[in-house]
C-alpha cells in the first residue's frame, strides 16, 4: 500500500514545488514610513502590527531602545526606528504603529511613523544595496524599484540583532 501512497505524496509535493517556484519570483513586503523615507520588510517576518500603547523604560540601553512592553503576557523590547536611524524624535500620532517582527526566536516591536501598504514586487526589480553603504555589515537587504519611487528593504535579522 505504501508504494501507491508514496507516489501520491510525491506527486503532491511536486505540484507544490511548482506553485512555490512561481511564487518565488514575487516578494511580498509591507511598506512603512520613517521620516521622509519609505522602507519595507518581508511580510512573513511580521508577527503583528499594533497601535501604540504604554511601555516601561529600561535603564542602561541606547536611546533608541525605548523599553519593554507587554504583548499578551510576553515581555518584548520596543525599538524606536526614528532614533535608530538618527532622526529627530517625533511625538506619536494617530498613525504611529508598533510593528512586531520575528526572526527565529527573536521578537521585538519597532515604532514607525506610519504604514503605507502591502507591496508585491518582482524579484528582478530588487537591486542590491548601494555601494556607499558599507559592505557586509549593512542593515539594507536591497532596494526595490517601483514605478514612481524606490523602497529600501531592510534585513529583519539585523534589526533584531543586539548591537550595543
Amino acid at each position: 500500500m505504501s508504494d501507491k501512497l508514496k507516489q501520491i505524496i510525491n506527486q503532491q509535493s511536486e505540484q507544490q514545488n511548482d506553485d512555490d517556484s512561481q511564487l518565488d519570483n514575487v516578494v511580498q513586503l509591507v511598506g512603512f514610513i520613517i521620516g521622509d523615507e519609505e522602507y519595507a520588510i518581508p511580510i512573513l517576518s511580521i508577527q503583528e502590527i499594533i497601535k501604540p500603547f504604554t511601555w516601561t523604560r529600561v535603564p542602561q540601553v541606547p536611546s533608541y531602545v525605548l523599553g519593554v512592553f507587554n504583548l499578551r503576557g510576553a515581555v518584548i523590547p520596543l525599538i524606536d526606528l526614528r532614533t535608530k536611524f538618527g532622526l529627530q524624535t517625533k511625538k506619536q500620532s494617530d498613525e504611529t504603529r508598533f510593528i512586531v517582527m520575528r526572526h527565529g526566536d527573536d521578537v521585538a516591536g519597532f515604532v514607525i511613523d506610519r504604514l503605507t501598504m502591502a507591496i508585491r514586487i518582482d524579484k528582478s526589480d530588487i537591486g542590491p544595496a548601494p555601494d556607499t553603504v558599507n559592505g557586509e555589515d549593512t542593515i539594507i537587504e536591497g532596494v526595490g524599484k517601483q514605478e514612481d519611487k524606490i523602497i529600501t528593504i531592510l534585513k529583519v535579522n539585523r534589526l533584531l540583532e543586539r548591537d550595543f
Binding site: P59, Q60, V75
Partner: protein
Amino acid sequence: MDEFQEILQDFLVESFELVEKLDEDLVELENDPEDLELLNGIFRVAHTVKGASSFLNFDVLTHLTHHMEDVLNKARHGELILTPDIMDVILESVDLMKALLETIRDTSADAGIDVSSCVVKLDKITGGNGEVNTPVVEAPVAQAPVVEEVTPVVQEDEPDYDNMSPDDLEAEIEKLLQERQSEDKAKREAKIAAGEKVLSAPPEPIEENSSPKEEPKEEPKPAPTPVVPVSTPSVQSKPKKEDPKAAAPAKRTPAAVEQTIRVDVKRLDHLMNLIGELVLAKNRLIKINDDVEERYEGEEFLEELNQVVSIVSLVTTDLQIAVMKTRMLPIGKVFNKFPRMIRDLSRELDKKIDLELAGEDTELDKSIVEEIGDPLVHIIRNSCDHGVEMPEDRIAKGKPETGTIGLKAYNEGNQIVIQIDDDGKGLDTEMLKNKSLEKGIITEKEADSMSDKEAFTLIFRPGFSTAASVTSVSGRGVGMDVVKTNIEKLNGIIDIDSEIDVGTSMKLKIPLTLAIIQALLVGVQEEHYAIPLASVLETVRISKDEIYTVEGRSVMRLRDEVLSLVHIGDIFEVERILDSNEHAYVVVLGLGTSKLGLIVDTLVGQEEIVIKSLGDYLKGIEGVAGATIRGDGGVTLIVDVVALMQMAKNVKATPLSEVPSSAAVSTEKTKASDYTIMIVDDSKTDRTIMRKALEPMGITLVEASDGQEALNILKAGDHNFDAMLIDIEMPRMDGYTLATEIKKYNKYKNLPLIAVTSRTGKSDRMRGVESGMIEYITKPYSADYLSSVVQRNINFKSEFL
C-alpha cells in the same frame, strides 16, 4: 525503529534510576557486608540491566553486567566476602556501567568503552575465591544462553535459601499469577458462555460478531470481578522488568510504594507558565476589585464580588502550590552521590570521614535540584580536603579519629536550607585575612575593619585558596567563588559560621521555586520596580535631614549601625521630573553579611510576581534580573539585588533635596491666542458655558472630560498651559486628585489651578487649597466674573482685548 527507540527510552530511564541508587547501596554494603537484603537489591540491578541490555543487543554492557552479576551472586551466596578491594572493583564496574549507559543514551550504541580490564578483575574475584569454573573472558557470542542460564539459577536457588525473601516473593508472584490466570480463563469462559446465553438476545440485532470481539464488550457487564481480568495480564506482561524493581523497595520502605506517572517536563513547564498567567490575572482581578469597591462603596453586589474574588484568589494560590509541588524532587536525588564521593575522597586523602545525611525527603524545584549538585560537590570536597584533619592530628587534638561531615536539608519559611557541617579545624580568620592580603584581594584597611563573619566570606573571593599545596581534590583557587555565583544565580545566599578546632557550618538558603516570587514594589518618580522580598530586611521612613554625606557617599544611622545609602534613581538613571518629597523611604537590602539602604520615593506594596525574562535582545542589563507583568498590564522591572549592591559602590550620589528645577518655559506672548487654558469638566454643558465666557478673549481653549484625560493631555506636552479650570466632581479622577497629581511635577508648580464647582462647603474649599488650587469659583457664576478671574491669573495683557 520507533518501537525500538521507545523501548530504548524505557530501558535508559529505568537503568539510570537503578544505577542512581546503586552507589549509595554499595557504600552502605561495604559497612555492613552481611546485609543480604542490600546485596540482593544490588544483584537485582545488575541482573535487570543485563537482561534488558542483552535483549537490546548491547553486547559490551551485557558482557560487563554479566560478570558483575557473577561476583555479586557469589557474595550473596556467602561464597565471597566483600573486602574494600573487591568493592573498589565493583565500584569501578558500576562506573563503567554508567559510562556505557551514557554512551547508549547519546549514540544508541555501546561501543567505544573498553571494559575488558575490569571484566578480568571481576573474573579474578570469582575465580580466586569460589569454585573454579572461571569462565574465560566470554566473547559476546554467548549472549543467548546466558540469559537462559541465569533465570533458572535464580529459581533453583529458592529451596536452598529460604531467607531470601525477595526471590521467594518473585516465585510466589509468578506462581500466583499463573494460578490466577488459569482461574480467570476458566471464569471468563464460563462468563462468556453464561453471558451469551443470557445476553445474546439484546446485542444480536445490533451486530453479530465473532467471539473475540464480544469478549471485551461483555466483561464489564458482570460487575462482581471487573478489576481482576484487567490488572493481571498487565502485571504479567513484563514480570522481569517490574517485579524486581517493585519488590526491592517495597521490602525496605513500605511507604515508598506510591502510584506514580511519568510526565514530560515540558508539559509541567507549560503548566507552570499557564499558572503564571493565572497569577497575573488574579492580581489584576484584585486590583479591579479594589477600584470597584472604591467607586461603588456600600453597594450590595460588592459583597458577592468580594467573595468570588477571594475564592478565585485562594484557589489560584492553592493551584500554584499544587503545580509547584509536581515539579518538586526530593533533594535525596542529589545527596545520593555523596556517600560514594566521601568514600573515594577519604581513601584518596587517607582520612577517615563519615557522612551523615538528613532530610533527604526535603523537596526542591526540579530546576534547582539540577543546579545545586555542583556547588554542593565543591563545598563537600572542600570540607574533606581543608576541613577534616588527618587522623593523627585529630587524635592529638583529642577528637575522634573519624571526622564527620553532616549534610542536611530542611524547610525554613519560604526557603530551603541546605546545611553542610564538618567537625574539622574550622576557619582561621587571621589566616584568611593574611592570605587575602598576600594575594591582594583586600587592603590592609579592609582587613582591620573586618568582622569575623566578613572574614569567612573571603573564601568566596575569586583567586582565593587556603590549601597550602595544590592537591588533586582542591586548591586550584577556583571553586568556592563559582559556588557563590551559582547559589546567587538561584537567588540563594550562603551563610558561614565557624569556630577553630570545632568545625565549620555552611548554610545555603535557596528559594523554593524560581518562577514566582514575593516582591516589594517600590516607586521612584513615575516608575515602579520590584525587589525580591527575600533580600529585603526592613523598610524605614526617614526625613531628608537624616541623610549624611561621608566621603561623597550618602549614609544614615540605623539604630546603632551606619548604613550606606544609594538612590534607586541614580542606579537606574531615572529622570527627576516629580517634585521630591520631604520624606523618603529606605529599603534595607541584605545579602549575606552586606547591607545597603536603597532610597525610594514610595512603597507600593507587596505582591506575588511571575518572573519573565527580558529576552535575548535585552539580556545582561546590569541591575535588572527580569521583568514581570502587573495587574494593570504594565511591565515592571525586577531588581537584581546582587548586581545592585555592586553598582552602588560606583554610583555618585546626587543631592536628594534640591533638584535643579527646569527653567519655566515663559515664552513671550505676542497675541491673545498664545494663551492656552484647559477646561476640565465632565458635563458638556458646563464646558460650553465656560467656553462661551472665555472665547471673547481670543485665547486658545482645550477641553478634557475628566481628571485622567486632563492629566494625559498635560503629560503629552502638546500645549503650554497658562491655567486650568477644574471641576471637582468628575468620574475616573476628581478635581482634588488631579490638582494633587499636577502639583507633583516640578514644572507645573506655578501653574494656576482654578476650581469651578457647585460645592460650596467650607471643608470643600479647604480641600481645594490643600490640593493646590488657588482660586475657587462657585457655580453659578457670571461670564464676566469667570473671565476676570482667568485674566488675573494668567497676567492677560489688556491690549489684546
